[in-house]
Symmetry: D2
Subunit: 355 residues, 4 copies
């Protein structure tokens, strides 16, 4: 059973492969009357678009989105919003090498085991190209939660972390790494460049914060906001870990240090800390929602790796082509999109039950 839908009240599904004619998303359950045009979506696709610096893949995709349904006279009608992005740069590459050997770290072997065969052109459905469709859907989600600001950044590349003291949100858009620390951004140039030149790749950690989420979204137990966020982030290609709030570091704190103490504030309760990442018992507390997501290094590398052929013979493979030396970088708009999609859903779900 494959399923390609995410969400409960506000839902989206995506379709399409790396080398098919197009890919897209269908957004369902969107509230009616929201002003929506391609111009609301395109900037987020542009932020994710490859080929914008030498630190990302040189594949050239304009990623122009078209709205095919669900909008009338510039407003959402409450019916499905179909978004389509044509694949333009399907370079007539020779994929015979990928067809003949499993790329370690990729889904090649697993797909063959599951389905009996696979679309080997650029990874087919397992390509990170699918994330363009999420980013488009995420732009619609943002319109559902105007009270919320979602912002992600790269917090660490190849083990080199930003210095919290240098954090400046205004810097995120000023460098090719979505890095809020200009000093680290400078260091990362050499780091990423060196991985690229070595025919290797490096991983990254993305942080994401959503401010403006009121207390009360989310729900107990199997609908915990933590669980929804974790599920959402772990559907993104190359992700291998998720933390909410302090995450694994919380496991090293004492109870009194981890508790987010409260006191009366000028406009309601105030918290003295946000170790929890803005949730308690799976429900938002009114503090910023905060999570971190681990991206493994890009699996497509020039460095040869031992592997087998579909017939079980030993061989090795080096993946040529136009790949991201650090796939995590372009994960930033994707993480933002998933956070917006989760929160739009949470808002509508809360409204359903609690009015």
């Amino acid at each position: 059973m494959s399923f390609n839908v995410f969400g409960h009240a506000f839902r989206f599904s995506t379709w399409g492969e790396s080398h098919g004619p197009a890919l897209g998303a269908v957004v369902d359950g969107c509230p009616p009357g929201l002003p929506l045009s391609e111009a609301d979506i395109q900037p987020f696709l542009d932020a994710r678009r490859p080929g914008q610096s030498k630190y990302t893949t040189q594949r050239q995709e304009p990623d122009q989105v078209r709205i095919l349904s669900g909008v009338f006279e510039g407003k959402t009608t409450g019916t499905p919003v179909s978004l389509m992005i044509e694949n333009v740069d399907q370079r007539s590459k020779d994929y015979s090498e990928v067809a003949k050997a499993y790329r370690p770290g990729h889904a090649d072997y697993a797909y063959d085991q599951k389905y009996g065969f696979r679309d080997y052109r650029g990874g087919g459905r397992s390509s990170a190209r699918e994330t363009a469709a999420r980013v488009a859907a995420g732009a619609v989600a943002r319109l559902v939660i105007p009270e919320v600001t979602v912002r992600a950044w790269v917090a660490e590349i190849g083990g080199d972390a930003i210095d919290p003291a240098n954090f400046d949100a205004g810097e995120i858009g000023n460098n090719p790494f979505f890095c809020p620390d200009p000093v680290a951004a400078k260091r990362w140039e050499a780091l990423v460049d060196s991985a690229r030149k070595d025919g290797s790749s490096i991983g990254a950690i993305i942080a994401c914060e959503a401010t403006g989420v009121p207390a009360g979204w989310g729900a107990p137990v199997y609908a915990k906001m933590d669980s929804e966020i974790a599920a959402a982030m772990m559907t993104i290609n190359a992700t291998k870990g998720v933390e909410i709030g302090d995450g694994f570091a919380a496991a090293r704190l004492r109870g009194e240090d981890n508790a987010d103490a409260m006191r009366p504030g000028k406009s309601g309760p105030e918290f003295l800390a946000n170790h929890s990442g803005g949730t308690a018992g799976g429900i938002s507390t009114g503090q910023p929602i905060f999570c971190r997501v681990a991206f493994k290094p890009t699996s497509s590398i020039l460095t040869p790796v031992p592997t087998i052929t579909p017939d079980g013979e030993a061989t090795e493979i080096s993946t040529k082509g136009r790949h991201d030396p650090c796939v995590g970088i372009r994960g930033v708009p994707v993480v933002e999109a998933m956070m917006a999609l989760v929160l739009a859903d949470q808002k509508l779900m809360h409204r359903a039950q609690c009015g």
Copy 2:
């Protein structure tokens, strides 16, 4: 919108609060003809049961499970299996303090914000007591996947990790910490005891491994096995992080070090490493499924913490009562249960689509 169901083809839902008359789980979609009696479930509940050592809460709950439906002449019929556990030790405690102030780290404030009021007796639905129902459901799930062995352990307590060189699965049941490293287990006695005596608490990291999962379970994109596992683990009380395979450490590896190279083996393909934790593209590879889960320190501590009353007045609270100094310890059977529940679902979903 609250939802209390988990899974797609093999599903379970739970109900019940800490201080109600009972709690339970309903398992739906279970294959027919599986031999099932209370004796298949009770041992797992016993492993989770409180009050078995001085390192866990002294609340005494026999946690006797009753099967109320879905079994005929000792075999599952394919219809819902209803499991009930009565709450016995509902000590007539005075909860007026909890009613009068929000316990930091707990869901008290969030519930009040969401629902307008809350069941303050022992945390109500947000109590870790709910996990007894999962453990019961998980025991049924295990019968669906006899080819799989699921095993979890505590890998770290209060920042003190086991030594992989000492790992001995046979030790897990030999100490009150589900610890596979007898040397660490010894150290943890003092560690946990000290936290308890201080009126404080400490966190833990649980590791879980499932062997015997064939290649091909799971599915791409929004049905990734990684996403399902992450969602499952993050529904457990006190969890704040999940890693699949190397998790956050993968973000610090180079591509060639992270790739799980392959070679022909005696009985099919062999992998030279398992950085991925047994999945690729969200689909199992045939390697062991491996994840780690971060548990924050117990929020119920004797140490007073500043907080507010429901009326917004400043106060402080210290949570008296019988609490786990390290709630992560009893998380071990719960993590195992969730892994079994995810995998049983994955097996049936794979069968649905791929025959």
Copy 3:
């Protein structure tokens, strides 16, 4: 894949068999703060309860409901409401005959084909006893939609229909048939009695009306209110047909006769007719929601019917025991419950999307 959950935002699931220790329902997604006690539920169970007249089965079940979770200090908490009804009158009947031959019209053969075996005691999960759990859940649903009045009645028994000219809602509770036409009720006494004495059974048509549903509930296409109602009614035992509004009779009208013309009214738009049964395009119009449900004659009859044994041998079977000569009669509270459950869900779903 069995599934035993109904609904989207307001959901319920049921569990239990005819001859197990108990059966129950879990209501999930219920809004918080609704006053709820067993006294809100019991009257509806009493209306469905067998053994109240000679026209229904003589099985004696007190059908006392217990609320096991989700209520605190008399109000729903927003967490799952678990409802349990113990089976008391599990007469130690000899079911060997049912074990040895398939009862035509019953699910015996189909269950064996699907599951490989079956719980033959009183039909197991396929018993109409399951409907007690729905009726309990339906009572909770009613509290979610206080603006709506749901009322069902028997419109026809054994081909003998009520006379619309005699319709008097006040009569429904005055006879053992839920019949709004006192003249027809009189006729039905003989009709049902004769079927019973013949060891036979007869069918019935139930009508159900919900008034007070505002315009705008429901949704287009796959979420049409018509579709939800049809699905709901066709999950009830013995139902074989559903009509919304004029139903099949609409297929015999001309367009201008079927159109529900409108005109301005004192307090908003008025309709000149309600052929549509209160929906247009799957969305409520503000007119009463109206449907009709066909119940086949009870399959358990004394009259012998040719059949086969599980081994494929020819035999015949006559079903002894305490059966309803017209199972449709006791369907009235069940149809009402399902309508209330659908509408509670529709209300919350509308609120989710449209605020």
Copy 4:
């Protein structure tokens, strides 16, 4: 909450409006390895296509389907199959009249009440044009169930029913009414023509039979095959009633006449009748699945009908344009598609639970 997905294991969703640039369906959960090209889908779209006789609307739509994803080298990959049909004949009609008054029988008023406004061009999402997308999805579903033959026909138009004695499946394709009775087909020419000339419309009843369904598909209670079929059919535009097997007529039979008696046959059990329409307890019996669906007369008629404007003023409306005098006729391929979609889902669901 709108939802535009149908199915559980084999699912499809549709998007698009009457007058947008395109409409489409996404089929998810499709088994891998099925040969699929546009040529497998187009014939079913052609059968539904308007403008093929004077008895249907004269709108000219080529309804050419394009497969945008999920197929590689001519076979389904197990990932979403995206199907798109461009809207070509969006005649630049003047819709100001529809904008200014609610068409009785249409969803105009209900949409406005739900969403606050509506896409009035050709009904927007509520247009029967949406059914093209279902028919495309249904063609994929047929490939999943090669063992099953699905066939629908018009059984009655404007109250004039076929004579069962004349039933000849071979005739269904020989007349513009999908009528298996050549004598009735002749009569219907005048009947439909007269409705058209009068500026009126008439209703129809469609029958559908699926042969080859093995015993054991479907499931008890809320997953009954009867419920799934009823839900599916009632999502189609203009449907107001569904019967399984004898349907409402079963409510007029005695128990012994309604029971489908069994006897041993040459190749397994045989039934002496099929009053049940191929299901018992919601599970298939191996007999043909049979249902009937009532279509109301087309709501778009030239005959003026009293109505109101969005401002609540009295007016009347006559719907000019190219409309089907009997929308039920073109419902035949749609009913077939929905039956195939339900059964493909049932097959995979059965496989999930029962292997």
